[in-house]
């Protein structure tokens, strides 16, 4: 089981849930499972080519997947995948 941390900007698409538990060995599998459960998240996370949107960062634990294996980055059992969109409010 992996815990996906949902930012408040996207909780309207997860029935308000801040954490969603999914199964998966990689970031891609975890996000696919997340989108199956909450389909509206798909367009917020991925562009038309299926790539993660450039203004959405993903972290396995503390590490940005852009600097490891991208969507193929492994997520350990019991680990956390955090979704971090750019926000600008002040």
């Amino acid at each position: 089981m992996i815990t996906v941390r949902i930012p408040s900007a996207m909780r309207g698409l997860t029935d308000g849930a801040a954490h969603v538990e999914v199964e998966g060995m990689t970031v891609r599998e975890a996000l696919d499972a997340l989108v199956v459960r909450h389909p509206a998240l798909g367009a917020r996370l991925f562009d038309d080519q299926g790539k993660v949107r450039r203004f959405v960062n993903l972290y396995v634990g503390e590490d940005d997947i852009r600097f490891s294996e991208g969507l193929d980055t492994a997520v350990p059992e019991g680990g956390t995948l955090s979704i971090l969109p750019a926000v600008a409010g002040g």
């Binding site: 900007a9 203004f55 960062n57 750019a86 926000v87 600008a88």
Partner: protein, 277 residues
């Protein structure tokens, strides 16, 4: 406290800093000699500027083109009910002077643009970003990197905030290393569209003030290479690692952006009225 040039009033006013291990008279002297620019005098700018003023930061620049609106008062403690309609830098300056008359407050009643950013930022040692939109955030980042100024970043949305410190130069990340591209217009709603929890900027802006004071005094470990995330609803503080991107167009090995650009165009927005880039 001879040697630091404090007045008797200053010795008393700053006594709780002066007796504090790590800060002391030397640290207080650095605060009195420091010049900090607060970009934005709103939700984040309020606690940032008020705590820096109370701490005795000698020169505080307040930059905002906006006027106080009734909807601001739920969170922007720089401004009072009677200030509605006044320029934010005016009411903000009054608040800071009331907190600490010894602070020199410089007001910049203007929008930060590619035409004025280098000149304005160059007058300060440290820049604290409490702005509220993507074009200004990229502009402040790029100008701070080009001028070699540390930038204390904070940003909020609804119940969540982010904060970190971007140091100039290679080896440490900048805002573009964190978010290489801005979201398309409309993809991320503003506070006026989505609402914002009133206390949230108080927490995040206070963290920015902490980091600014640490940078000035040289104490502790700065929030560099780590992004602090705060979730008020879950009451969670977490950090993730930030990495310097060698391909970064501003602070990477071969920078391609070496002067300020049109940040509205970069963010997919039409040019602002009257702006010369």
């Amino acid at each position: 406290m001879s040697g630091f040039g404090f007045s008797e009033e200053q010795v008393l006013r700053y006594s709780r800093h002066i007796i504090l291990p790590h800060v002391g008279g030397a640290g207080q002297r650095k605060l009195l000699d420091a010049k900090v620019l607060c970009v934005g005098a709103g939700g984040l700018g309020s606690p940032i500027a008020m705590y820096l003023a109370a701490a005795g930061v000698g020169t505080i620049g307040l930059l905002d083109f906006d006027r106080v609106d009734l909807t601001n008062l739920q969170r922007q403690l720089l401004h009072d009910t009677d200030d509605v309609g006044r320029p934010k830098v005016e009411s903000g300056m009054e608040r800071l002077r009331a907190i600490n008359p010894g602070v020199d407050v410089i007001t910049h009643d203007t929008m930060l643009t590619s035409a004025n950013a280098m000149e304005i930022l160059s007058g300060y040692d440290i820049v604290v970003d409490g702005s509220d939109n993507f074009p200004v955030r990229y502009l402040v980042n790029d100008a701070a990197q080009m001028l070699g100024k540390p930038l204390v970043y904070g940003s909020i949305f609804q119940f969540e905030g982010q904060a970190t410190v971007f140091l100039p130069g290679q080896e440490t990340p900048c805002y573009r290393c964190l978010f290489p591209q801005p979201p398309p217009p409309g993809a991320v709603p503003s506070c006026s569209e989505a609402g914002v929890f009133g206390v949230l900027p108080g927490i995040v802006g206070s963290i920015q003030a902490v980091e600014a004071i640490k940078l000035i005094t040289g104490i502790g470990t700065p929030l560099v290479g780590r992004l602090l995330l705060f979730d008020a609803l879950e009451m969670e503080f977490t950090t993730v690692k930030l990495r310097w991107d060698p391909e970064c167009p501003v602070c990477g090995k071969s920078p391609t952006v070496t002067e300020l650009i049109d940040y509205e165009a970069f963010c997919g927005l039409p040019p602002r009225l009257g702006e010369i880039v």
